[in-house]
């Protein structure tokens, strides 16, 4: 039993898990507001990270300026995606909408490879010190930043939904579209807004991952890991998504520990979340906090 390694891995798990939580949160945001299962969530991370990388490396923009530009770009990008690709699909069967997002993920993934090449690129260093000591553990600065940014985004999201007018409009739309419309909420704007916010939040997560691991098409795996997280937490619960993300992140690293110490199977790290997904679907298909679907006509 290697306690030092276990703790190190669990810290990793917590950091990665909060990131999963953030991405899952933005996934659930789209699902709740617009009933779209977004298979292109990971590609939003990818686009955001590449844009920020291009700004910093190709155009020599400093980080404090590149980040806001990326966020604004992704905000507009999210609105555009919703308007061009998903607005025509309103009212179509759910599988058509799913297939549009799958196709979208292919297009974005391939376009990024086309524009920026297939090789992973390191992100320019942002912090001067490599690591800090917290409670006797050596933790990389980027991990601390990642955790702080993730928690900040979660707090911002919580404030947005609890207190702001747009957030309330979104919650009303998610609750009942017709009632929301009759109260004077523009459902069209809410749909576009939810994609914009989701894209922006994902892009920030994407940049954080890129700072830690460099930019590559592997980033889009975060979009796939969203599914175990959200199924665990309940497909339509934002709090559940965050908790599910953290649990999946911890579980991944715990699986890696078990794998490395005892089983020696290889990449249990990567597939463990999917086993969890299947098990959850078997025993508790609506997740920890999801609403049980009561079918109505």
């Amino acid at each position: 039993m290697n306690a030092q390694l276990l703790i190190q891995l669990l810290v990793n798990g917590l950091v990665v898990g909060t990131l999963y939580g953030v991405v899952a949160m933005s996934f659930v945001l789209i699902y709740k507001a617009t009933q779209v299962v977004n298979f292109a969530q990971g590609e939003l991370l990818l686009v955001g990270a590449w844009v920020c990388w291009a700004l910093m490396v190709k155009y020599q923009v400093p980080f404090y300026a590149a980040m806001p530009i990326t966020m604004v770009f992704m905000f507009v990008f999210g609105i555009l995606i919703q308007m061009v690709f998903l607005r025509p699909m309103i009212g179509e069967p759910i599988i058509s909408v799913i297939m549009v997002t799958i196709a979208l993920s292919t297009v974005l993934q391939a376009s990024m490879k086309w524009i920026f090449g297939v090789n992973p690129q390191p992100f320019p260093p942002i912090f001067t010190s490599q690591s800090v000591h917290i409670l006797g553990l050596q933790i990389q600065t980027v991990y601390v930043m990642s955790l702080v940014v993730s928690l900040a985004m979660m707090a911002a999201m919580a404030w947005f939904f609890q207190a702001s007018k747009h957030g309330l409009a979104m919650r009303a739309t998610a609750f009942d579209q017709q009632v929301a419309q009759s109260l004077g909420i523009s459902v069209k704007n809410v749909f576009a807004m939810s994609w914009a916010i989701s894209a922006t939040v994902s892009a920030v997560a994407g940049v954080v991952v890129a700072v830690v691991n460099g930019v590559s098409s592997g980033l889009s795996i975060y979009g796939i890991k969203v599914f175990p997280a959200t199924i665990l937490g309940g497909l339509d619960s934002i709090g559940g998504a965050v908790l599910g993300g953290v649990i999946i992140g911890l579980l991944e690293n715990f699986a890696q520990f078990i794998d490395g110490e005892y089983l020696h199977w290889g990449n249990l790290y990567e597939v463990a979340p999917f086993y969890v997904l299947i098990i959850i679907l078997m025993i508790k298909p609506y997740g920890l906090f999801g609403t049980k679907d009561i079918e109505r006509v």
């Binding site: 299962v37 298979f39 690709f85 025509p88 699909m89 179509e92 069967p93 759910i94 599988i95 058509s96 799913i98 297939m99 549009v100 799958i102 196709a103 979208l104 993920s105 292919t106 297009v107 993934q109 391939a110 376009s111 490879k113 086309w114 796939i224 599914f227 175990p228 199924i231 199977w265 290889g266 990449n267 990567e270 597939v271 999917f274 086993y275 997904l277 299947i278 679907l281 078997m282 298909p285 679907d293 079918e295 006509v297």
Partner: protein
């Protein structure tokens, strides 16, 4: 859709007449004639074109299964490539390690694949379509990981070998002979599905797709039919995969990631969800698209467009982009696919010059 082409005065007076495979005598004759004609393909086409035809046949069978699931039942699978590959590996395993003749190994591996599919599909098939999508996504990753790991089954990092197809001691060698094997399977599978769709079970699937609540009220067991449809999809994926294994004679898990599953979805969307012949059209479209793009890029080579896009080096990405864009365009502008367009062309000529 198909019924719109029935000539005036041709009334159906019994249920049997209403559920015939071919609506008219001509359509039956055309179908038989085209199968007979395609039998001469090995003598007419070069090896290269023949290999493309074989690919269309193999992928067409797998896509047919997916169309039963997506087009007729309204569920969705994003793990079709993994099931296809499972069929390939299990047929290779059955034929080399256990010694089952390839003739029996192919349908048998279809059954095995269906059983494995049900392990993943069973929890999700009771729920709505999007849960099956997520479960099959998990299956895609779990199965590919399994293939990379299970050396006894798939050879792990070493590709698995498969025996060549043989029947009563006669070994089919080369593309020219294997073509007939694939053709026989394609005809059998397409007839099977056409028959299934006009039976009680097939109509139940369509009812589940159109309105699951009404279907349930009419006494259709939703869980049973959703599971059945998923099993059928996995079965045909397995059969297609097994044919692929005995065609290539070597099976490796590379190139069967999620992109391949998306290609299978592209085939049925382009061809037409819920159209049996459309599946074949869509498969042909997707298989021939790279060839067309290759040809276009060779025509444009050296020109301004070539220099701007860097066609030679970027053709793989451009192909992926094209597939994605084509899926979206079809979903938005032509949700019924090529099959619908084909019917419109036929109707145009039939009604010419009085199109209304």
């Amino acid at each position: 859709m198909a019924n719109s082409m029935i000539p005036a005065g041709d009334f159906r007076t019994s249920y049997a007449a209403d559920t015939t495979i071919f609506p008219t005598v001509t359509s039956r004759n055309v179908a038989i004639a085209s199968v007979v004609l395609i039998c001469f393909a090995p003598y007419l086409f070069s090896e290269y074109w023949l290999s493309l035809l074989i690919q269309i046949g193999i992928y067409g069978i797998a896509a047919l299964g997916l169309n039963v699931l997506v087009g007729f039942t309204g569920q969705i699978s994003i793990g079709h490539a993994a099931f296809f590959l499972f069929g390939a590996f299990s047929s290779a395993y059955l034929s080399t390690k256990i010694g089952v003749p390839a003739f029996f190994a192919i349908p048998l591996s279809g059954v095995v694949t269906a059983l494995v599919g049900l392990v993943f599909g069973l929890p999700a098939a009771r729920l709505k379509g999007l849960y099956l999508a997520i479960a099959t996504l998990a299956a895609q990753y779990i199965l590919l990981d399994f293939f990379a790991r299970a050396e006894w089954f798939s050879g792990g990092s070493v590709p698995a070998m498969a025996e060549p197809f043989s029947i009563f001691g006669y070994v089919f060698q080369g593309d020219r002979q294997y073509f007939y094997v694939v053709l026989a399977y394609v005809v059998t599978c397409y007839l099977l599905v056409t028959n299934m769709m006009r039976s009680r079970d097939g109509r139940a699937l369509v009812a589940v797709r159109d309105h699951y609540l009404s279907a349930e009220i009419m006494g259709i067991n939703l869980t049973k039919y959703r599971t059945l449809s998923f099993g059928v999809a996995a079965f045909f994926a397995g059969v297609g995969g097994a044919l692929y294994a005995h065609y290539q004679l070597v099976v490796s898990y590379e190139g069967f990631g999620i992109e391949r599953s998306i290609l299978f979805l592209a085939m049925i969307i382009i061809g037409g969800t819920g159209s049996i012949m459309g599946t074949l059209m869509g498969t042909a479209f997707v298989v021939l698209l790279p060839e067309v793009m290759e040809w276009v890029s060779s025509v444009l080579a050296g020109g301004a467009i070539d220099q701007a896009l860097g066609l030679k080096t970027n053709i793989t990405f451009l192909r992926e982009i094209a597939i994605g864009v084509i899926i979206i365009v079809f979903l938005v502008f032509e949700p019924d696919g090529l099959a619908h367009r084909w019917h419109q062309i036929k109707a145009y000529w039939k009604l010419y010059p009085f199109s209304h």
